[in-house]
Symmetry: C2
Subunit: 187 residues, 2 copies
């Protein structure tokens, strides 16, 4: 007979932690709030993450990184550039739920949490920009412009997340992404 209570594996816990860190930030995500929202006791959490809250956040960041590597960066490096870039905008809108979900890496970059995860944060954005700039070059864009254009696109997504949350306006997020998508391939 299977147990009535839900049993977790570490891999099941990470997505739950991700949403909590996204909503509350690193400092705001206290162990009791994590316990409260997941129903997982402190004992279990420390069983999965002996390094405590820092290991939890690191695991979340690693999973975010894997997701973007697989569904955004790799396609940008490998696939037809125009298709991969179109898929990037589509994936970004879906992943960030049209501004309803923030970018954890971007949020961590803003306060002192940055110090804890500096290289992870740096790599996430650096690889995004590199992959996008590479795709732009392959699509015929001069290398001299490609990097700045890529930076602008990545930065625009982060800004759209901030502004759409500040104004509580998901339509703004979609509109901004559409405009950036057009500008990226035309200008």
């Amino acid at each position: 007979m299977s147990a009535l209570r839900t049993l977790y594996e570490r891999a099941d816990v990470v997505p739950l932690l991700a949403e909590i860190f996204r909503e509350l930030g690193f400092e705001g995500a206290t162990l009791s709030r994590i316990t409260e929202r997941t129903g997982i006791g402190k004992g279990s959490l420390y069983h999965f993450f002996p390094g405590g809250k820092e290991e939890m956040a690191a695991a979340v960041l690693a999973e975010v990184d894997t997701w973007f590597e697989q569904f955004v960066y790799e396609p940008l490096r490998r696939d037809d550039p125009a298709e991969a870039i179109a898929a990037m905008w589509k994936n970004a809108d879906a992943y960030f739920r049209s501004g309803g979900r923030i970018c954890l890496v971007g949020a961590f970059a803003l306060d002192e949490t940055r110090e804890r995860f500096a290289t992870t944060i740096n790599d996430y954005f650096q690889r995004w920009i590199d992959a996008l700039a590479g795709a732009l070059v392959r699509s015929g864009r001069p290398a001299s412009e490609a990097r700045a254009a890529a930076e602008n696109a990545v930065l625009g997504i982060q800004g759209a997340l901030v502004l759409s949350r500040a104004l509580d306006d998901k339509a703004l997020f979609k509109r901004a992404l559409d405009q950036m998508a057009k500008r990226l391939i035309t200008s």
Copy 2:
């Protein structure tokens, strides 16, 4: 004879608090860290801000709002639009220290701190966008484009802050602002 110790007024404390909230975030800025960094005891802090940490953050947000109203929004509504827009970019670069200093309002928008200060956060960005869109219209830009262009500029500054901090690259911030300034008046 004047006292050896520094005596503060409430108005002197607010800028100190601003930098601490910027660096640590709302949750990360604990009273002991505030005391430690400012040298002001808890008794004094609660004398100035009976409402505790929330009142401290509200006072900081109010001061930020006043600064932008005076040096950015009002000029955009009142002065020659081209000059006011040029001044906006210059002021933004100076205020945010080329990405070395974040936007507290934007940072608060990202996590649950948003709930505490929702209307303040909303107003800050809404008035910025309105003032900028108005200046663009006065400079001859079609009203149909002005709002989206204004949103894009405001969002771009927020994104540039995130990205320049993530990559620890102030040059990127300046570069991005230059590019956005050009695009705002040409496209």
